[in-house]
């Protein structure tokens, strides 16, 4: 049962081999990726602000976090929770705000790629009430094709494209932000390295 049966049935029923297409989509150069990124992220319910350097980015986060009790992530000075000291991800339920460095941004859809290594805990960007992602302008690509070309060589156990706050429209199609995960996504855009 199972495997042997399925493979036998596939072999018997599949058609003659058909060719696989090549995927050479041109990358559009000269496009203003930053403003396209901004527009597309906004369509997904996220917000972009620019910072001239990491110091300014930290200042922006500090301002946004207000009196949140539990903050964790990229700015050690601001952290009230040490992600690497946590063993059980259930403890992350307390997180008010998490800040992570994005590894790649996609202009056509506003998505930012993060993986397990930068997140420390896979659950962190989902369970936190508010999420902040940092991205450098030169980490933006125009389309998903280019993103996957770059990710090809990356090793990860889990990685995720995040393109906005958690949302739903399951009640009469009215859009509600903050379904299970973060109620907001702030992307801080930094200049090229």
């Amino acid at each position: 049962m199972g495997k042997a049966d399925i493979l036998k049935a596939v072999k018997k029923n599949k058609p003659e081999e058909l060719p696989i297409p090549s995927l050479d989509f041109p990358t559009s150069n000269g496009q203003d990726l930053k403003s396209l990124y901004q527009e597309r992220l906004a369509a997904g319910g996220g917000e972009v602000v620019s910072a001239k350097d990491k110091v300014e980015a930290e200042w922006i986060v500090k301002e946004r976090m207000g009196d949140y009790q539990y903050v964790a992530g990229a700015f050690e000075n601001l952290n009230t929770m040490d992600l690497s000291a946590i063993r059980d991800p259930h403890e992350l339920e307390l997180l008010d705000m998490a800040v992570f460095e994005g590894l790649l941004g996609v202009a056509e859809n506003g998505a930012i790629w993060v993986n397990e290594e930068s997140l420390v805990h896979r659950a962190a960007p989902f369970i936190t009430q508010h999420l902040v992602l940092l991205i450098r302008e030169d980490q933006l690509v125009d389309k998903m094709h280019e993103a996957y070309k770059r990710l090809r060589s990356q090793e990860y156990g889990h990685g995720v494209f995040i393109a906005g706050p958690s949302k739903t429209a399951d009640i009469e199609q009215s859009l509600v932000i903050g379904a299970h995960g973060p109620k907001s996504l702030l992307v801080i855009m930094l200049p090229p390295a």
Binding site: G2, K3, I6, L7, A9, V10, K11, K12, N13, K14, P15, E16, E17, L18, P19, I20, P21, L23, F25, A43, G44, P89, H90, E108, N109, A111, H121, R122, A123, F126, I127, M144, H145, A147, Y148, K149, L151, R152, Y156, G157, H158, G159, V160, F161, A163, G164, S166, K167, T168, A169, D170, I171, E172, Q173, V176, G178, A179, H180, G181, P182
Partner: protein, 456 residues
Amino acid sequence: MSHPSEAQKFVKNENRVNWHDQSLWHVREKRDKAANLFPEWEELREKASQIKSHALSKLDYYLEEFEKNATANGIKVHWASDAIEHNEIVFNIFREHRVKRIVKSKSMLTEECHLNPFLEKHGVEVIDSDLGERIVQLAKETPSHIVLPAIHKKRMEIDELFQKHLHTQPSNGDANYLTAAAREHLRQKFMQADAALTGVNFAIAETGEFVVCTNEGNADMGVHLAPLHIASMGIEKMIPRYEDLGVFIRLLARSATGQHVTTYTSQFRKPREGTELHIILVDNGRTVQLGREKYRRSLHCIRCGACMNTCPVYRRSGGHSYQSVVPGPIGSILSPGIDMKKHASLPFASSLCGSCSDVCPVKIDIHKQLYTWRQDITRETNEEPAKQFSMKLMGWLFTHPNLYRKAGKFGRKALQMMPRWMVYNPLNTWGKQRELPEPPKQSFQEWYQQNRQKNG
């Protein structure tokens, strides 16, 4: 069971039909906007279709390649010939881990396998975590749409449902309030779950990983907290290369809801440290469909739901009238393949206008396959169903003035575009024994309104 008689129940309430129709049409319009935004849309559809055709033609090879690579990644791979085997595999893993409570994120495959009642019978608490799915679960219903499971439910009905089950206050159907209540309720469930179950949008043979797309983040909330993750996938979800994902991710959300991408595109390659990750590759009739040359391409489907949103019959008859796990145009191809007798009426629940084929991101020739099914069903039963089904369908459309007006607008377009063989064939009772008049470009009503407006 037959679609016309089930649809009769839905069309009784004309306001509801109009509301349902408009909600879905709105989603269809958003899809158009997203698709028209860049020039390579058609090229993407073509590539997606070619990748799928190729993948199916070497499916045995890719399944084994996936198993090899996923296993090397530390994922446990299982194979299930049918729904029963699938459910038993799930339950055996649960038994081993003493699982009592699970959270599930939307998976049409587990619906197809009737997993929930099976697990509940064995004492496992199953919580569907996608909000729409949770709503229909509380209402003891099934999803009426594969992407928008509760699209048939009015906000006041959800309000009452939540009052009863989640002890909310009456809120006059306030979507923000109700979603916040569901958020609290489900967060508790995520925290308590012993295991998480998800579906799979795409599996990549080359890297042995799989992808799950959601807007709510419910799949991720479940799997990143629980110590055990089981993913169930139909074997047709296999794609060959890592870079193929670029094509499908670009098409999926845009076709489904008009978003550029889902909020989360989550990729799983290895189990989280200290936890187990299982994947079940399920056949359940797919290899049989693979052997049916005429219907093989239906296995391209990436479950975006676009064909439902655009279908004039689906929009006016509601998903439940199809009485099948996957409703709408694509369901009407898949279901008769599983049980022809039971689903004999479904291929007739279509105007054959071709709109489904036009929006399908993987270029399934849906309306042609529906027409082919009509012939097969007619041949294998008798000529009756054809007449019976199309008469009934049109019958209910024409008894509702408001529906009739809209259907007319649509019919005029369709008649202008449809090839002759489709209008004058033995199955179309309306083309029989009469030449249909050249369809007018406008109805009198449209003309009157336009000119009256012009003239002030």
